[in-house]
Symmetry: D3
Subunit: 315 residues, 6 copies
């Protein structure tokens, strides 16, 4: 069971109102790498986990992330507290309120729809979705996902710190950013506490495909490195010449039983395209009296479209 202490994990001191900054910080409140995503990621994993050590760790960190959600939400609430009251009380003229809402970011929606409260959206107003949570119920996957998620959260905090000059906010964000580093370290330790964690799952791969690198992107800029060259790798450069890799036909096939086979044949017949049927089309009909406008001359390269645009304006 959860319990709550009214003190924040980290003190929030905001120097002055800034609803636009508040709306940017929502990225870590209701964004994909934000604290709700983190908390729900670890909490859902914890509920389904049987290993006592991992379960404990997941619940510890999930609970801390909820507390971080509270810290970041409290920062946003402070930044928007003034704007919230001014709009609710109609304390400024309409023109002033309008201007305060359209200063940038997506703070307009936060003011109009959410009344200045912290909203579970990202900085563009996209509502948080559980599609952000990639718990899969396999610990070697889930821990890797957690490592990656902490890594992303760290970088978002770093970016927010880089755009903020309010020292109190910078300080709290620095705390939150650092905790992501600590959590990443815990998840790394937990991953390697599973003695055999690669490949994830139980089923081994097929050896001859597991060490092949397929060089599908070619041309100037082709590079080599430890990710595609060296002892661990067989590299295929002649991609087309090795199609398909299994030596089969490279096609897709199925044996359809009757009446499916008959229905499939009927469907093909009914909807077949006739390659010789080059008739007038809707587009031909619609090209109208101005139909010549596109076929008269070849306008050439970079200057073309600017010219065409001018021409269009002059019609």
């Amino acid at each position: 069971m959860f319990m709550h202490n009214k003190k924040l994990q980290y003190t929030v001191r905001v120097a002055e109102p800034n609803p636009v900054l508040g709306s940017l910080l929502l990225e870590q409140f209701g964004g994909p790498d934000g604290e709700l995503a983190a908390a729900m990621r670890y909490f859902t994993q914890g509920l389904g986990e049987d290993d006592a050590g991992r379960k404990d760790m997941l619940l510890d960190i999930a609970t801390e992330e909820l507390s971080h959600l509270e810290v970041i939400g409290s920062i946003v609430a402070m930044l928007t507290k003034g704007a919230k009251a001014e709009l609710a009380e109609a304390a400024l003229s309409e023109a002033e309120l309008y201007m305060s809402l359209t200063k940038g970011g997506d703070s307009h929606t936060q003011s109009i729809l959410f009344g200045g409260g912290p909203a579970l959206t990202n900085s563009s107003g996209a509502p948080w979705t559980a599609a952000y949570v990639d718990s899969r119920g396999d610990p070697t996957c889930d821990l890797r996902s957690n490592i990656a998620a902490e890594s992303r959260a760290k970088i978002i905090y770093e970016r927010l710190i880089n755009i903020t000059d309010d020292p109190g906010i910078k300080d709290a964000l620095g705390f939150l950013m650092t905790r992501e580093i600590a959590h990443q370290k815990s998840f790394e330790k937990a991953l390697y506490a599973i003695s055999d964690n690669f490949p994830p799952g139980k089923l081994p791969g097929i050896a001859r495909y597991a060490s092949t690198y397929v060089n599908t992107s070619q041309g100037e800029g082709d590079m080599t490195g430890p990710w595609n060259e060296g002892e661990q790798w067989d590299r295929i450069d002649d991609v087309a010449g090795n199609l398909p890799v299994d030596g089969g036909s490279g096609g897709a096939s199925i044996d359809l039983p009757d009446p499916a086979a008959k229905a499939a044949a009927d469907l093909m017949t009914r909807t077949r395209s006739r390659p010789d049927h080059d008739v007038t089309t809707g587009a031909d009909l619609g090209a109208g009296p101005g139909a010549g406008r596109m076929s008269g001359e070849d306008l050439g390269g970079a200057e073309d479209i600017a010219g065409a645009a001018r021409q269009a304006q002059a019609l």
Copy 2:
């Protein structure tokens, strides 16, 4: 620029129609760990990448994932080809078609809405969303996200292999699963080819918070392990006693300028709750003549609600 060869990377041989299985396989076509998500993840990273080696690798693998999208989509198309034709041609009676659609999974939607073609949804019909793509523009984050994504994709393929007994499908899924292992290896190599990759980004953490483990979940089941104990860790067990960690007040504060401060005071006054105002409420009004039904007796534990349900049925 992309080009296409009509041969598949791996031959698809499907033994017999099974639209329900087809709808389950959509998990890797339009699901969060599916091939479109993989392709778009690496492609968007590749476009924004300046490092020649990583750019090349990301485009190689993105292109291969598009080819895997084609393989898994072709399997689905084969599995549903018969049902598609039978529905389009009305080749069976209404009752037979109805039954074929309601055999399980979400194949009903795939038949009715998508006409039996492979749809970019997961196995529950949730449309693919770019919210699945977590490219963040920092290579040490993005590579970790890629490692995690390959790891998840591997496990989904393993689960699909475990429920399939069609040898041709099992074989193609095995190929696809193995390629995820190979890609994970490439991304791991590329991560460590960045000499200083932890913590991600440029900004270091604050030392005293980076090695703290906060034991927020307590009670029977508390565990220790390398993730929270040992040389690298300071552990806080008395969480409440250490609130807030910064030694401040643990509150949230801001200095509001006028007129924001006045508006805030007005708003508080106007909407204040009066703790002494214990009046009749809407719920009190609505409890109606049956209002006593909940307060008469204490129904007790596990048998209560069953009893209450019976009582409700008997009213």
Copy 3:
């Protein structure tokens, strides 16, 4: 700050595995009226609330809802624990695993994608979205939204109780259902502790429109009741004859400055429809040799389409 005790608020005793039931119960885990929605609704309100009494209540209840999320998630985890392990270990044959996954509900996705863990989706697999959270930052609105939300949650629990015969689950659901009743009561009391709570907000309505009932749906079935008749209501039955209600033109107008006015005129001219231009269309072109199939005879009523369908099958 949040803290966690490893004991659940209510003991979970599940009699036997049932992943389909587990997927139905997700409605209260990741569905719109589920516990995460409740917790986030109250938590976001609490963060933005300045009234000490309401803030305390909102955090109390938000924290309890998180604890309920844990209870319902634990029930789901128990119901799916067996299926999760069997799929991960491939402990049954492929055919048996396939059958266990396609028994109904959306448990197939929960198994394949989420590996049997509790997922933040509703019972159809739609991911939880913050669009479910309707906190608006005005206490008289938010409390009404909370009252409604508790009311909805109560009814969903009642439905789940009605379909469950496992006594331990029934019991825990009964507890959770009852807590929604208690929370509704608290929110009702808090709403009426605001002495002037209707209409919500600060701005009064315009008197002559606030008591008008517009009878827009007419015909057999027109009814009267306290919602549209009596002292409080003026009722408009001749809707069309009173258009518009403000006595104006009923049109929409704007004075466009130049050059906008000129551009608007140009746009109208360029894209005007010519009512006299009855020409062959794409559909006419496409009606093809079978064009007569629809115009030959009037097929009549209820038997028509069945007949047409037969005819189509016989082509």
Copy 4:
């Protein structure tokens, strides 16, 4: 059946173009508390309703809300009419058009994607979703949801009125706002015309849990009021000491049959974490030559991260 009269319910007079204001007003066109949400909420309830009085009322109000959708959409269409034409006709220079699009709000998307027409999105461009509609098929729930929804819509209109100084728009918004008040009154009357409306549904709660208030959030700021104290309430302050409330173990349990039990044991064994396995991790590998940068000194409180940021810039 629906019919339409070309006159609006309320005349729309807009003084001058303002696409940014238009994009803010979308909140009530395609936002969660907007008119489409209202119309669809009542319409879906009306279709499923058997009580003649409520069915009539729901269809009356749904039809009026569609008419309000037309009013608010017409305001938006007027506000953007000039910008729409200027962009379509390329009537201004590229630089002027670019500037007109980037004045604020999300009007850029409304111009580029929707061509200046009213779009079913909220003011941040999030597309309207039926997830906003919380019809649940129980009248005592649905009426409460309607009351809450009208209450929210009223407050959004109030906010929009507060930021608008165009008298014609202010006037029309005032009409729309007032109608929400009237509708709320109707729904309240209809709720209490059900004689026994609390608790919603049929199943009574369990008496001893229905009057308990759980004080889960503690510390400075703990408050009492009619929502948690008084005759109706039993209050639990020693939360941890009363865990679980049912007197059981507070754990979650299930009896797994074979082979599920064996599979579960196998899974636990295969993926167990070894608490003694404190080995080098990926993060350790990646800390690189700069690994020492975080552990050298304790940077301290508020000044830390600013200092760290400076340091990072100076590297």
Copy 5:
């Protein structure tokens, strides 16, 4: 199988950084009419297509659209390359970075969340969703959908060209726009190569309803044209007088078997509204001491709400 050549299909030359323009161009990267939508639309159709000619065409165009995705994404990457680096390296002061992020559009999210890389969102930050893809598995539908989609994409490019004065970008957008025209032409040709393509599908319509035009919107502004008048049309102007069109009752009915009929009767009885039950409601309770504020006087028309607003401010 897909392959990739590192040269773009069209050279990208960007004159100077402009992250806001970059965020607007996302409309064609991750927006509903953008290149990913196009590519996935044709690719999913191609996978399910059996007709050799159409399959080839669909794969040709899908592959080219992926190449266009690369071109538009490369433009965005160039436009944001500087901002990306400045934020990552903290190369400017916090205030400068904050200002560069809040210049307009939704470039703030692209910088903070996506780190300056091209993101699969539209210009408002709404993530791409497969709900944009309307492949339905019937060629005469799908080709019409493709024609419409190319038409929409053309117009979006035209709008973007109209707001851009960078000649290199204008040029590349002109190329992309023109290719949509070419693709529309191909799809038109392919549609008419199916000899009988209207109505789509196999089932003919019911003749007497296929040529009826129902004039449901009446009043000043009623118009005629080839779409509702002429030989092909029967027009119903007396809509209400012809309800229902089938000559039945116009009601909805079902014969419920027992016990469903009994349950339905019980449900109606339990939740019936009592039209005579005009009692005090929650809103009545909540109107409070200020209850008279709305009923005292009739404030009148356009000046009302402005007056009311002033009054509210003066309270």
Copy 6:
């Protein structure tokens, strides 16, 4: 303004309850090609339209589509009326109710969450989203989108007719299907009443790219037809040899000003990959004692993965 007549446009006679069929029919209630999508598509276009003829037509058809929404919703309400009552009244045993909910489709969610009422979701429970509405504010685009949408709606109705043997439902669906044909005809007429409708918009294309067909998909199965061959087309078969089509470098470039150029260089340096840095990775660490399991032997083709799966089961 909208008005409503309580008679349906078409009488609904349902023979017997079938909640699963009801959930399938939701495809046309809240699905992408359903009646709400149609109504909102035309309504939003109508609001923004200045041409009197098109505006009238769009409002006529939008209003009729709302009436169709009522018809299809009424069918669903009838099909689920019994199940709704049985669940609300707990009229059957828990086991019977559970079974009635899990018969197929997504009717479980419709029962539990929506209480048996018609819900604005598709047949998989995905909530309706305004992302389905592709109104773009250009009439030649929008009419083409409408033509395509009617075409899709027709085919979905055809599929639903094919799976239904209830004559009353079949009949009503036949009516609705036929009306889509009539609407398509109207939109076609309206498109060609614009004399110059191709290409859409005002800006002509660049002649030399408008008639080029790029054969990007090659290999066995390459086809020709009127869509890529004939007088109107120049065809490029040597795709790679013609890269880029503009004769430029095929690269993407920008001139970065200082300090952006310096920041970009710093970023590249800081995150460069070292191709020679082939070190132990996290995956290498994690391959563990079972690391050899994948490299021992080459398991071969189709039998491999089945063998591997067996081996995994036998571990």
